[in-house]
Subunit: 202 residues, 2 copies
């Protein structure tokens, strides 16, 4: 397998973390997203939506969308529940992550870290941070009585939500008002096979 | 089963369309999203993220996120592929829908239809429409050589992308530059058991 990857992308880190925990070997192609690496004709032939990560499977199929890649890799493993309702709840949280969390928590971090201090998109930060705090509030409520998001067991839902939550401070978020989220972040980091965001395979 | 629903929501229509095509019976609870119906304490107890649709299963579990509900209802039916890569590709397109399509195509429609003519959010429309056209461009490229999104067979991917695409004109989109998308819309509307967006069960 080959992963079209970017080391600073939480969406890519989700896939690297799961691959490490599954003990799978793979090649990495680092894509320089800041320099237009996802907008070249060659990359757009791989993913017409122009985003990393993309997984090239052993059969040569290019699969995009981080959470779809997680699902492909984790079917019939301990990282997905056995029950239909459990699998649907994992998906519910992965879709929450992409719709109500990532556009605020990850994009605030992107603007903060990757755009110059005078960039006009910095005007978006107050609203992005407000919506991001709302997402952490939903997570806090859920985690007050639970160790992990679904079935009290570590799953893809935790991997998907951990990736950008654990570096939210880099986007100007303070997680002190969300103690259940903070304790959950520690539980995820204590899982077998855990790797940090900047760890490379091999 | 009971569906917390809103007749004008494409996300809710996805679920109604699949339920009709599966021949499943269910109760409807209409939620007035324009009048804060998703922000009451009673509704937030059902979905802390404050959005419709929510499916209450026969076991009394509340499941949120339209595409997670579709998945729950369609596992082991003809609406999902048999292969792991096929299922992952359906998810890829459902995640594309929620991240790269719905925030532009659906939100432009919402602003156009539900907010007053002098509302400040109308300033968002040019950018929302630009990004929505980009999403239709990705779909057009994919559909130029295909009848449906995955495995050339009607699936959840088509349902998820159809819901807001087929009413994009209500958000100020012109699909004339996307003829393959337009032909695909007609193919979806010709599927057995198809119902329109304003059709109610039973």
């Amino acid at each position: 397998m080959r992963l079209y990857d970017n080391l600073d992308s939480g969406n890519c880190y989700k896939v690297r973390l799961l691959l490490a925990q599954l003990g799978r070997e793979y090649e990495v192609v680092e894509v320089d997203t800041d320099k237009g690496g996802t907008r070249t004709p060659e990359f757009l032939a791989i993913n017409p939506n122009g985003r990393v990560p993309v997984l090239e499977t052993d059969d040569g199929v290019y699969l995009a969308e981080s959470n779809a890649i997680l699902w492909y890799l984790a079917e019939r493993t301990e990282f997905l529940p056995n029950s239909a309702i459990g699998r649907a709840q994992v998906l519910q949280w992965m879709l929450f992550e992409q719709y109500s969390h990532e556009p605020y928590v990850a994009v605030a971090r992107y603007i903060t870290r990757h755009l110059p201090p005078d960039h006009p998109r910095r005007a978006e930060l107050p609203e992005r941070r407000k919506q991001g705090r709302a997402a952490f509030g939903v997570m806090e409520t859920h985690l007050q009585s639970r160790r992990f998001f679904v079935d009290d067991t570590y799953s893809l839902a935790d991997i998907a939500l951990y990736a950008y939550s654990h570096v939210a401070d880099q986007g100007g978020f303070d997680l002190a008002p969300f103690p259940a989220v903070s304790r959950w972040l520690e539980r995820v980091a204590a899982q077998p096979g855990y790797i940090t965001m900047t760890a490379r395979p091999g």
